[in-house]
């Protein structure tokens, strides 16, 4: 028991013997040596991807003179309503599945990081 108290005291003394070291420009020196970002951040990449998709769609629409959109709407209007519902449900399933796959791919990273908090 006495030995344990002695050890605790020694540990405490050791911890207290180390003064806090002032940053004194250390962080700035480290940050100045970091490589500059080599690629656009993810949020930027998302914006670029959406922008390119929109631009491609606009070009396709302009080249076809808008006909393919009109034809697609006309064709859809002839379909029975239940087929449209099934089609919408199927689209929802596909988008949902993609979202789940994306989430699972990201989960280990997030899970590992969250362990840090414990």
């Amino acid at each position: 028991m006495e030995e344990m108290i002695e050890e605790d005291q020694l540990d405490r003394q050791l911890r207290e013997a180390v003064p806090y070291i002032d940053d004194d420009g250390f962080t700035a020196r480290v940050v100045s040596k970091l490589p500059s970002p080599g690629r656009a951040p993810r949020s930027m990449r998302g914006i670029i991807l959406v922008g390119l998709t929109a631009m491609g769609s606009a070009i396709a629409f302009a080249i076809s003179g808008g006909r393919f959109v009109n034809e697609a709407i006309m064709r859809l209007s002839t379909f029975p309503i239940w087929i449209l519902l099934v089609f919408a449900f199927g689209c929802g399933l596909i988008v949902g599945a993609c979202a789940v796959i994306a989430a699972i791919r990201k989960t280990p990273e997030v899970r590992d990081l969250s362990r840090l908090q414990s």
């Binding site: 070291i21 962080t27 480290v30 970002p37 590992d112 969250s114 362990r115 840090l116």
Partner: protein, 178 residues
């Protein structure tokens, strides 16, 4: 509310956020520099160079950090590896210097002004014991975490801590008033 290490690491990984990384450096610079100063026996310039190298390696390898250990444990491991590589380059750090200090600075002949100077007593310990005592007793790592940092078996860490503590106590007792 201040951001946790996990939040900061996530920001660096997701957006390559240099501000978040700077915050990580600010949060840990004192403990890393302190550890390296003790390992290099208060060679401040060398310790700071190694600390800088440590944080640059942390930045480069942050993606390999899986969060299985605390961020500080991972950080100390990189710091210790930096020190070990440097020590291999400068043999005198762990070889000649070690012997010289062991013989020249015998606890019995130390200047009385250095009594109760724990840091000095610590610097007299051999490197394996010093590293184990620094990590476990001073930086508050568990034996298991210290074993990961030092890349040695758990039993060896426990032995080194025990021996280091004993030697510290003996050294301090020898310096103390008779």
């Amino acid at each position: 509310m201040p951001l946790t290490d996990a939040d900061l690491v996530a920001r660096v990984l997701l957006d390559d956020d240099h501000h978040a990384f700077a915050e990580l450096v600010r949060n840990h610079q004192s403990s890393v520099r302190g550890l390296l100063r003790n390992l290099t026996r208060t060679d401040v310039a060398l310790a700071d160079d190694l600390a800088q190298e440590t944080f640059l390696r942390v930045y480069k390898n942050l993606r390999s950090f899986r969060g299985e250990a605390r961020f500080s444990t991972w950080l100390y491991r990189i710091a210790y590896n930096c020190f070990r590589e440097e020590a291999r380059k400068r043999k005198e750090l762990v070889g000649i210097d070690e012997e010289r200090l062991q013989t020249e600075q015998d606890p019995q002949t130390v200047d009385p002004a250095l009594r109760h100077d724990l840091m000095h007593a610590l610097s007299l310990l051999p490197l394996p014991e010093r590293s184990a005592v620094l990590l476990c007793c001073q930086n508050g790592l568990s034996h298991d975490e210290a074993a990961r940092v030092l890349d040695i078996p758990l039993g060896t860490v426990k032995t080194n801590v025990l021996r280091g503590r004993e030697k510290l106590k003996r050294t301090l007792a020898a310096w103390g008033p008779s």
